[in-house]
Amino acid sequence: MSSMVYAGTEVSVNDEGFFTDPEQWREDMAPEIAREADIETLTDRHWQVIKFMRHEYADKGTGPSVRALSKISGVSIKELYELFPKGPAKLAAKIAGIPKPRGCI
């Protein structure tokens, strides 16, 4: 475990950069986390997904899988990959300041 500074505030993250305490996250940190993942600008569509991730985490205690995220948010899987290249569920979780989604077994 280590710490990072986003928007001038120190936060706790794990080895992979996921927040360990989602309470420490604030909206103005998201653009900085996104830039580290080569997403230069967060559009309204990005924000729609980020807010879904926060909501799902608050509701269920874990972020959704890509397929569940697509079904719940109404954003197609294709578009999710355009918004968050490589791994929408993981990347959106990181930017939304929630722990890495629990993998299925």
Partner: protein, 420 residues
């Protein structure tokens, strides 16, 4: 007063739950099992069908015959569950009121959720061995296969029996060796996982086996499209894998009636339950067992078996108005066929990942290690399935809760996540 228990699904979980409840509660409850068809398929046997090592007609038996005397069987698709009214509505108009409902309807295969997959299957370019008809079709395709690229693709998780795609690769390696054409066949496992398996120690061991058998591994591949005409799998992030024959494990979801029952299922149609009591988060009179539940345990017959004891105890408590005291620990036990007459065995739960050692204690079958004994165990399991698991009996020496006896657990497992 007689309690009415309705069980939706007459597969592994539904059948063993019905038999346990009937035995434990006797005539104080009236049990009705509902399923859409009459055939109970021994699903672990499907893996062997494509390699012509089992006759398909030996895998199925009548569902109703697996139920104890006194249990009613109703063959009809469910339409929806009315949670508020505590009623199940069937497609034929029958309404079944319940005091306790068990969702045991398993997982459905959804090839239609992947672009191009239905067409590729219709054209004989892609196959699945996850149902009986598909496994038989794949047997014919493999028999006629004289060389080329075979991609074994898991589209997305969760799937039933997460080790089956690996086993398919190992058995295919043996199959083509025996036919003398292994050098003309390129085998590749294409998975959305970041390794051969979900848990670290087993992933290393199984990844090593793939490597030794010359089977390719493509990881973190989220299949977006199966392009039959070009013969390639295309991932959402734009990578592709070429194939001459694709063996695809389609996306899994809950049964359609779950989606038509407001509040019952999650976005994928699986039923959220407490991971220890198996009680639905939607309503205290609903429980789920086996693949239909959204648990973070594997979707595997052994899980349904171990859950059976907990489910029956908790339903009995619920009907008696007492607190639920039985707790499921995520116990899973799987034989992994590794080809050439050998198999591995893994035994794990929510907290302990698969590790080396012996099962069920220091003297027993080797864990996470290839052995002929384990292969014999896998074959013997079919008898246990029909005569011990489905009747809802405990297997002597193998309790529902996982034990650490015989296991070599590392001091701080690599699976252990530091969260604080």
């Amino acid at each position: 007063m007689i309690s009415r228990i309705v069980i939706l699904g007459g597969g592994t979980g539904g059948t063993l739950a019905a038999n346990r409840l009937r035995r434990e509660l006797g005539a104080s409850c009236q049990i009705t099992v509902v399923d859409t068809d009459g055939d109970h398929v021994y699903q672990p046997g499907l893996l062997f069908v494509p390699f012509a090592r089992v006759r398909p007609d030996r895998l199925a038996r009548p569902r109703a015959r697996q139920l104890r005397r006194g249990i009613s069987y109703h063959q009809c698709p469910a339409d929806h569950v009315d949670i508020g009214a505590r009623q199940v509505h069937l497609a034929d108009g029958t309404v079944l009121p319940y005091d306790a409902l068990v969702i045991a309807s398993g997982a459905a295969l959804l090839p239609g959720e992947t672009e191009g997959l239905p067409r590729a299957m219709a054209q004989g370019r892609a196959f699945t061995f996850y149902d009986l008809a598909g496994a038989v079709a794949l047997r014919e395709a493999l028999a006629g296969f004289s060389g080329g690229r075979i991609a074994v693709n898991v589209v997305d998780l969760p799937i039933k029996c997460p080790v089956a795609p690996l086993e398919f690769c190992f058995l295919a390696d043996t199959y083509f060796r025996q036919r003398g054409i292994r050098d003309r066949v390129e085998l590749t496992l294409v998975t959305p996982l970041d390794g051969a398996f979900t848990r670290a120690i087993a992933s290393r061991e199984l990844g090593g086996l793939l490597d030794r058998k010359g089977i390719g591994l493509v990881t973190e591949f989220n299949t977006g499209e199966v392009d039959a005409s070009a013969g390639r799998l295309v991932s959402f992030d734009g990578r592709d894998v070429s194939f001459d024959l694709a063996v695809v494990v389609p996306i899994h979801g809950g049964q359609p009636y779950v989606g038509r029952s407001p509040g019952l299922g999650d976005a994928l149609g699986f039923v959220p339950v407490d991971e220890h009591t198996l009680q639905s988060k939607a309503s205290p009179d609903i429980f789920a067992i086996g693949d239909a539940a959204d648990l973070r345990a594997s979707k595997a017959g052994s899980v349904a078996h171990f859950e059976g004891e907990i489910l029956a105890a908790n339903i009995a408590s619920f009907l008696a108005g007492q607190p639920l005291s039985a707790s499921f620990d995520g116990h899973t036990n799987c034989f992994i066929e590794s080809g050439a007459g050998k198999a591995l065995l893994i035994d794990f739960n929510y907290a302990t990942e698969p590790v080396p050692g012996h099962f069920p204690g220091p003297i027993g079958l080797p864990l996470l290690k290839e052995s002929r004994l384990n292969h014999a165990g896998k074959l013997a399991f079919q008898w246990l399935y029909w005569h011990m698991l489905l009747p809802g009996r405990d297997i002597p020496g193998i309790p529902a809760g996982m034990t650490l006896a015989g296991k070599h657990v590392p001091a701080a497992g690599p699976d252990h996540q530091v969260t604080s």
